[in-house]
Symmetry: C2
């Protein structure tokens, strides 16, 4: 797609379809811009609820929102598009992005590439996110499952149900059964803790009558090198430890050295056999971000200034997990959280709308300096199993403020998510899913 | 698992988890029998609604029912089990079935086998179903998609959405776009007709605003060698032809000669390029059934007598699509329909319960002769797109009786299925799915 002409609407290209990209797509004024979204995923994942889909508390589709529903103009306007493709390179001098269309079976980033094409931009927003970090530990990519995408959640669910059913096959040794039903979670952040909690709920409330033959063999172990939920208030952390232990989750302080097909090795020499291994030790920069010729922030993200612009090049912004403040801004890099990305998407959309109104929408226009982006932390939430949650409303790690735990905060947790799930369709589905899980238990069919 | 002792409960082994097997599992008295179900699929598929899941009218999980929910004793009783495995061989002299557990990634029947094990039975019911028939046409298995299982429906959905998105990629030629968006259905039975109808609904009501850039390029062609819906009343057939044509489905009379990766060849020499090819030309005996050393019915199914027993061997019954009356019974083989299988499951469950009560539950017991199975056709139904359906309540092809078409019969169609979807959970889901599709349109996220 060639560059726009001055008499045409300026073209905004957005790379990605996560929290940052989708909030931006939602808020951008499509009367001012033609919008192109390039992403290998045609939907946004409501990540905080992804853990619940693995054990059947929620349906997969309840936590996914098509980008075309978030921004209908992508389908309806003649010059706005969503492309199922990944960006491979950016030519900032020519103001264009080089992309590769997705073919079947290469959604995992491997395999032969599809059609290559280029799109010229007037403004570019990079919101491609990060990828799961493995700290270079061998075997993680081969044997562990991540929890970042709907496909990951489907794989975890399939594996869990397969292992449960394998255990019932006659001739399986007790040792093999114990291994198959040992679910190991590495990483004690909110995702790891919530998944452990959901898993132990599933075991206590569904496995016990749906897989009664093997119910006493299934166990959950959560491995974390430091403290679990380290960003939360100390009292909440203690509460989480107590709750998890009470519901049968074994907490192990340790560091993983190597992952083998059926066991993992800790640095202290312990061998841990597993049937299901879920890896959630945070995120790091993706190869695409690492290869971009831009200056980097501490941690290797795309470096941005206080207005989230990439300095040194024109008309390029970066938001969400793929971006971080440059060291010379004297601001600390913000955490890789949905709320950070979403707030940044909102901020950049507003800035871009303002530019277009001021006649600065086209490439290489003079830009009126904008007010810097200011992040105010709204608090953190995590569930720790049935009817229990943590809500930490302190503004930062060191400051004082409200923190809650237990049933009431679980109500807050559910309500907060129900009001945030983007479409009414999915709000309805999440509510129906929760109600049916409550009434009938979790679904255990495996496709 | 060794043979049961006379003082133990007799053991019933059921092969399969389709309509026949599940009705039998539901009706069997688990106080009288220990039950073992062996099937590579841990859920029953509500097949009549499967076509709707491909285009997102219904969720996949709404049409699947775990066998453990249908018969909770499979999980709860100490000697009743569901095994995720396939039966490879039957030793009728020893009264045992040989099975192979499913490993990951071999659900498609290929690949290395899993653990092998044997289960002794007192009574055996074979209900393994049939497989899609391809008439030996080359390329069908490689390039066409079937519509028999939830996985098939997922594949169709993924392909359809992928093709829609590929068409928007810059640089795609008009010819390639037309090919990608040509959906070809081979086979004009109820499944083929319903899928064509759903597809044309999806195109007219969802593609038109969600994929507006390519909306005029997508077409559906239904290829049938004879007449569509040949088992239905002639007036209903004409109505179906009119409805389908009106909604944009092109009907082609023709026979497929060969299927190539991007086009198919008809016997008259026509080349038909396609982007999505769905094959639904009926079913035939599976390799497992073909290899069984039993006498066969016309059409190659397992031959049974009037009480659905396999003659010549003891304690073996066969029901559903895998079985048919032996020629010497002078009865015609019943059609491969859900209602036939279900009624047979009910009949055999009743007969087995009666035997156990009479002390004839164990292997090689003397069996009191039972009344023969009598099939009464309850009528056929099919939708032909939005708010239109056919209901044929005649008892057979030649007899007279009630037949209806149009909106009223669509209401009958929906209500009939809503009352038949097995669990309350899935009834609720189907109702919610229909309501949300009506309100918000179909979901287009692709995982």
């Amino acid at each position: 797609m060639p560059a726009t002409k001055p008499e045409q609407k300026p073209r905004l290209v957005v790379l990605g379809s996560g929290w940052g990209a989708c909030r931006l797509l939602k808020d951008i004024d499509t009367r001012l811009y033609d919008v192109i979204c390039v992403s290998p995923r045609n939907h946004m994942v409501f990540t905080p609820l992804l853990a619940s889909t693995c054990v059947g508390t929620l349906e997969f589709r309840s936590v996914a929102e098509p980008v075309r529903s978030i921004q209908p103009a992508l389908s309806l306007l003649p010059d706005s598009y969503y492309f199922l493709a990944r960006c491979t390179d950016i030519n900032t001098d020519q103001h264009e992005v080089h992309c590769e269309a997705l073919q079947e079976d290469i959604d995992d980033g491997k395999g032969e590439g599809g059609n290559k094409f280029s799109v010229a931009y007037d403004k570019l927003v990079i919101a491609t996110g990060a990828e799961a970090s493995t700290f270079g530990i061998t075997g993680v990519h081969e044997h562990a499952l991540f929890l970042r995408d709907v496909k990951n959640a489907m794989d975890i669910r399939t594996k869990l149900l397969l292992n449960l059913m394998k255990c019932e096959i006659p001739g399986t040794s007790m040792e093999e059964k114990a291994r198959l039903l040992h679910c190991v979670v590495v990483g004690g952040g909110p995702t790891g803790v919530e998944f452990s909690g959901e898993l132990s709920d599933f075991i206590r409330h569904d496995v016990h009558h749906k897989f009664a033959h093997v119910k006493d063999l299934i166990h959950v172990t959560l491995i974390e090198a430091n403290e679990i939920l380290s960003s939360f208030d100390v009292r909440l952390r203690e509460y989480a430890v107590n709750q998890l232990t009470k519901t049968g989750v074994k907490l192990v302080r340790g560091m993983v050295k190597e992952v083998l097909p059926e066991k993992l090795l800790l640095t202290d020499g312990t061998e841990v056999p597993y049937g299901l291994l879920v890896w959630s030790t945070g995120v790091g920069p993706s190869p695409f971000v690492r290869n971009l010729p831009f200056e980097k922030s501490p941690g290797g993200r795309i470096g941005v200034d206080e207005t989230l612009k990439v300095p040194g090049v024109e008309d390029v912004y970066a938001i969400g997990d793929c971006s971080g403040y440059l060291e010379r801004t004297n601001k600390t890099v913000l955490p890789a959280l949905a709320q950070v990305a979403e707030r940044q998407g909102k901020y950049v959309a507003k800035a871009l709308n303002k530019m277009a109104k001021a006649g600065e929408g086209h490439a290489k226009a003079h830009i009126t300096p904008a007010d810097p982006f200011v992040y105010r932390h709204l608090g953190s939430m995590a569930t720790v199993g049935r009817y229990k949650a943590l809500v930490d409303l302190r503004e930062s790690n060191k400051s004082r403020g409200l923190s809650m735990k237990g049933f009431l905060s679980w109500i807050v947790w559910r309500s907060a998510y129900l009001t945030r799930v983007i479409s009414w369709r999915n709000r309805l589905y999440v509510a129906v899913n929760w109600a049916t899980t409550f009434l009938f238990g979790r679904d255990i069919s495996r496709f």
